[in-house]
């Protein structure tokens, strides 16, 4: 495991050096990425200028939800890199060559073409999160849950990225479907669940449990009652949801690799 992390960093640092060979391009991409992700928070802010609250939640509370899910997907995106392009790696035979190297395949796939500009997304989400956090009434348990929330959220999005990429072991390209779940999941969780009908919230809790990315732990941290009256222990269950996601993704990856058919030549 430690070896895998070291190898990830070595491969990633090589790509960082490569991308720094073109500094202008790096800064343009980084700033572009920062502005693009920042734009959806501007939209929420504009919305909240005109109405007092959304689903019973204020602008700072929504900022907290937004920052938490944003950090989760930003860290996951930073780590998984181009895993969503797995189909392309299969078609070009690049995956074959990776399979002949003594580093776990997933580490190589995720570290491939590591792009430091992805830090822009982490930065943007951090800014919103820290700003919103200044309005929170902090206690030690709340702080611990906040750490656990960001870690679990990252693991959930990481697992979604990897697990959905595995579909490409069977079909040529499924990036669009995968995006619907990953980036779609991110957008859904930018809003308080109280704006959705109860059925959807239950689906996002028990079927595809992405509500654990931020909604349940945030209820705990913000000291709010669950608008749907669901059990309170759910507010501390994010690590369990994250472990389930991770297990499913690991299984999908393993089965996918053993099912791998390579290409013609």
């Amino acid at each position: 495991m430690a070896d895998a992390v070291v190898d990830y960093c070595r491969i990633a640092s090589l790509w960082v050096r490569a991308s720094m060979a073109y500094p202008a391009s790096f800064w343009m991409m980084a700033v572009g990425s920062f502005l693009m992700t920042g734009l959806d928070f501007v939209a929420i802010w504009v919305l909240l200028r005109n109405v007092d609250d959304l689903g019973g939640f204020s602008l700072t509370e929504i900022g907290f939800l937004y920052g938490a899910t944003g950090l989760g997907i930003a860290f996951a995106d930073l780590c998984v890199g181009r895993v969503e392009r797995l189909g392309q790696m299969i078609r070009t035979g690049r995956l074959d060559t990776m399979m002949t190297k003594p580093v776990p395949l997933l580490v190589q796939v995720c570290a491939d073409e590591f792009a430091p500009r992805r830090f822009a997304r982490v930065l943007q989400s951090s800014l919103v999160f820290v700003w919103a956090a200044t309005y929170v009434d902090w206690t030690l348990p709340r702080a611990l849950v906040a750490v656990e929330m960001v870690v679990s959220g990252s693991v959930i999005f990481f697992s979604l990225f990897v697990g959905l990429a595995c579909v490409q072991f069977w079909t040529a390209d499924s990036t669009e479907v995968a995006n619907a779940f990953t980036y779609g999941g991110n957008q859904v969780t930018q809003f308080p669940m109280s704006v959705f009908p109860q059925e959807i919230v239950k689906a996002l809790t028990f079927v595809l449990p992405i509500a654990f990315v931020n909604w349940y732990p945030a209820l705990f941290i913000l000291g709010r009652d669950d608008p749907f009256g669901l059990p309170e222990w759910l507010q501390l269950a994010s690590p369990v949801a994250a472990a389930l996601f991770l297990g499913a993704a690991a299984l999908a990856w393993r089965v996918g690799v053993r099912h791998y058919r390579s290409t013609g030549s």
Binding site: D7, R10, I11, L14, R17, A18, T92, G93, R94, D96, T97, M99, T100, K101, P102, V103, P104, L105, R258, H259, Y260, R261, S262, G264, S265
Partner: protein, 327 residues
Amino acid sequence: MSLIEVSELRRTFTVRRRVDGARRKQRTEVEAVRDLTFAIDAGEMVGYIGPNGAGKSTTVKMLTGILVPTSGRISVAGVDPSRHRTALARRIGVVFGQRTSLWWDLPLHDSFDLLHKIYRTDPARHRTNLAEFVELLDLGDLLDTPVRQLSLGQRMRGDIVAALLHDPEILYLDEPTIGLDVVSKGRLREFLRALNRDRGTTLMLTTHDLQDIEALCDRVIVIDHGTQVYDGTLAGLHEQGGSRRTVVVDLVDEAPPIEVAGAVTRRVEGPRQWLSFPADASAAPIVAALATSYDVADLSIQEPDIEEVIRQLYSRPPSEPSGRPSG
């Protein structure tokens, strides 16, 4: 126990194809490799040949652990490749002729450096190996060039260095000379021969080019339609396949079919004539006889191509099962 052991190896692929205008695609099983059994000892240089789509690459991918066999058993250096792929990777080197395992956008030097780190080779050993391979393959001037700017031949040499830096016991080469010019081919073959001689590296190469085999391999395994059709020496293959080489002669003037000892005239077209002779015979006496008895403007010799040899092998009535003596 041999270094590489393969027994009753089989791999099928499910393909979906539309059968004669049928609306729905049907699933069919295609056997890429079936009932393959062979063993390769440490230090051997084995040519693994066969026509396109015969199952060569599929076999190499199973030997390296990339593909999981449908059934049968493989043992490479004592382990099952698909189960211990990452561990086995330290002990083998793989070169796919048509693709690179180098990092496309990075200078050659960075790729080598990264390989050194992820294989965790001893730094001193890495330096010696790198210096030696770079010298032998003449890559010194190219180390700072990004891989995408290298020519095919340069990239191939880079890939071979990359596959060898960690002192693998086995080197698999999949079509290593494809697309290379004659000089590059010659240099590469010389390098591989020295590698086997000096370091005892076991070599298995798949190729289309019979000259690769002639220059390098004592032993040939021929595969066609997924099954092994021959395992033995190259001379034995020519003998069994009854393969023949051809002398193409351009005479100064048109003439009746040439008669010369040891060769048969197959075709006459104006001043040009085609004479064939057994592939294991020397061309020298035939060329000498032609030069003394006829007014020759030009001549060239064509090697039998692999497809032809295999076709011959198949069209003959099956005699005793081909193979080298076991044990």
